[in-house]
């Protein structure tokens, strides 16, 4: 059974992740090409003179077949050339640089809050299953899951910036700020993001831990008279580790998408707002670049989750 060695499995998973990335890039490309008419016409809208349309068609190389343009775009992308913006004419990689790091900073700080919060609450709810603590946490998360991101954002903005005045209302970063000033500037958007994503992942953690706690071997351990602490630490936790790691990665993936709305609420100069601007101005090359970056990060995080779960859960190494 050399086929099932752990390296081979991880390699196989990596390969299928690569295929997913390719399909995703194809979707991004096709997604911006599903126009009923012509991209150039759509970009220009009312101001579409024949010359202007032709200029854009030339710039995008629309005369050539789509398959060729897709391959070129993909190859350029892999080499770090993201093309130029239709609206501003600037290099896209230049426009993205600072914004990408701003967004990663936001997501990283949010993750530091969200992961312990969601895993901790999920464990707590699972350990006190059916008791008031559990019911309280469960109802609270049901409410939080139902809240649109911008509602939480504006409530925190109203409380934190306007009523209490602890944090700035506009989250603006600059290089001259110290790390603590930067943290202060992103506190509200980070808290919003963390609360939005925690409610999802907390529910997942609770379900994962409960499904382990209901296994026969946990009951067996209890019947043998093992202490509650021993049951949880020796029997349940090692088996719950894989789903929990998965959930942590999933939280990160949620964060990456959550930034789009949260950045708009707090006027934060990140990737999300760049993409929104690009979409509303129909700046296709910029939309494609942002879309591919968002989607790749998302796919890579999911891939990492899968590989971690392969490494931590020996059962998954055996084909069913």
């Amino acid at each position: 059974m050399a086929d099932n060695s752990i390296q081979a499995l991880v390699l196989k998973r990596l390969a299928s992740g690569l295929v997913t990335l390719l399909i995703v890039s194809l979707l991004v490309f096709v997604g911006t090409e599903i126009l009923p008419g012509d991209v150039a016409q759509a970009v220009l809208g009312q101001q579409a003179t024949p010359e202007a349309v032709q200029a854009i068609r030339d710039q995008l190389g629309l005369e050539r077949p789509a398959a060729v343009r897709y391959l070129e775009w993909l190859a350029d992308f892999a080499l770090g050339d993201l093309g130029t913006s239709l609206v501003s004419g600037r290099e896209i990689s230049e426009m993205i640089g600072q914004r990408l790091s701003n967004t990663f900073f936001l997501a990283a700080v949010a993750a530091v809050i969200a992961i312990p919060l969601s895993v901790g609450l999920g464990l707590l709810a699972a350990l006190y299953e059916g008791r008031p603590t559990d019911k309280g946490i469960s109802i609270l998360t049901l409410i939080f899951v139902s809240l649109p991101d911008f509602l939480l954002g504006y409530i925190l903005l109203l409380l934190g910036a306007v009523v209490l005045g602890w944090f700035p209302a506009l989250s603006k970063l600059s290089d001259s700020m110290t790390f603590w000033q930067q943290l202060n500037a992103v506190a509200l958007p980070c808290l919003t993001l963390a609360l939005v994503t925690s409610s999802h992942t907390m529910r997942l953690t609770r379900a994962a831990v409960l499904s382990v706690m209901h296994q026969p071997y946990v009951e067996m351990a209890a019947l043998k008279g093992a202490s509650r602490k021993r049951i949880i630490l020796r029997h349940a936790l090692p088996n719950a580790l894989s789903p929990i790691l998965n959930i942590v990665m999933l939280t990160l993936a949620f964060l990456v998408v959550g930034v789009v709305v949260v950045e708009a609420v707090f006027n934060y100069a990140g990737m999300g707002r760049l993409m929104i601007d690009a979409v509303s101005k129909r700046d296709m090359p910029l939309v494609q670049a942002c879309g591919l970056i968002f989607a790749s990060v998302y796919v890579l995080l999911n891939l990492t989750a899968d590989i971690l779960s392969l490494l931590t859960n020996p059962r998954r190494r055996r084909p069913k």
């Binding site: 979707l27 911006t32 599903i34 049901l142 109203l158 789009v260 690009a278 979409v279």
Partner: protein
């Protein structure tokens, strides 16, 4: 009906009350309220008063009238998009489960690819090409939401298709359509109903987020998310104007989620009693 109600827990009954109250408010309210959602009746961002219970919005329209009309827009769009998702997902799911083979393989792969993508990002990409007309919005939302409907229908239908009475129907030589409507569909309905609630909430939050980002429903029409955007400036003066439409959306979502949670628990109980 009363038996159905008695099987639901308190939270789910409360949820049902919220949902019915919300629907009544947005569909009947605009006829009762003395202002229309487009007329300018006061100064900009005036605070709540006896004449204008929730105050006025960014151009001086009555905010309550706006929220009722916007809520109606959100409910109608979300309902249509969810119906669209089911119209795509359910037939594909059932046919995939019964036919199997290459058809199943292709559809499943496409759905997997769509689900490998964060929904909001895919919506943004597609809308940047299609534009933000109402049919384009409905199409994008339906397609995005149909992936989960497809998976669920396929899974449930595959379970049903493996049962003996289906085998008997097959042996009797029934044709495909009879099969779908008489044998498979009735057994899939309870699961799909709860899913309809969840998909509806997803659609309502998606369209509101898109409108909030300026890429959903376009002026002069507005849904709840668009109203949050219109009034976003008021927050720096400490006014609630952008929070109220968002709160209305949250109330609807919480109501539906409570009902769905109750239904899921009830279905789980029924399974245990078998």
């Amino acid at each position: 009906m009363s038996r159905f109600l008695s099987e639901l827990d308190v939270a789910a009954r409360l949820g049902l009350l919220i949902v019915l109250g919300f629907l009544a408010a947005v569909f009947v309210g605009p006829f009762i309220i003395p202002y229309s959602e487009v007329e300018i009746v006061g100064s900009v961002f005036s605070p709540p008063s006896l004449d204008h219970w929730l105050g006025t919005d960014n151009v001086g329209r009555d905010l309550l009238a706006r929220i009722l009309a916007g809520g109606q827009m959100t409910v109608i769009i979300s309902f249509l998009a969810t119906c669209g998702a089911f119209a795509i997902g359910v037939p594909l799911g059932i046919v995939s489960a019964i036919m199997g083979g290459w058809f199943d393989l292709i559809v499943t792969r496409i759905v997997d690819a769509l689900m490998a993508f964060p929904g909001l990002i895919l919506a943004l990409i597609m809308l940047s090409a299609l534009g933000t007309s109402l049919p384009a919005l409905l199409l994008v939302m339906s397609v995005l939401s149909s992936t989960i409907v497809f998976r669920l229908t396929r899974a449930v239908a595959a379970d049903v298709a493996a049962m003996e009475y289906i085998e008997i129907a097959r042996l009797r030589g029934e044709n495909m359509r009879w099969f779908l409507f008489k044998e498979v569909l009735p057994n899939v309905v309870p699961t799909l109903l709860t899913e309809f609630g969840l998909r509806f909430v997803y659609a309502a939050i998606l369209i509101s987020s898109l409108s909030f980002l300026g890429i959903g429903v376009q002026p002069p029409h507005a849904d709840l998310g668009g109203m949050v955007k219109e009034n976003s400036l008021a927050i720096t003066f400490g006014r609630m104007a952008p929070i109220l439409p968002a709160l209305a959306l949250a109330i609807l979502a919480i109501g539906i989620n409570l009902v769905v949670d109750g239904l899921l628990k009830r279905n789980a109980d029924l399974d245990l009693h078998k």
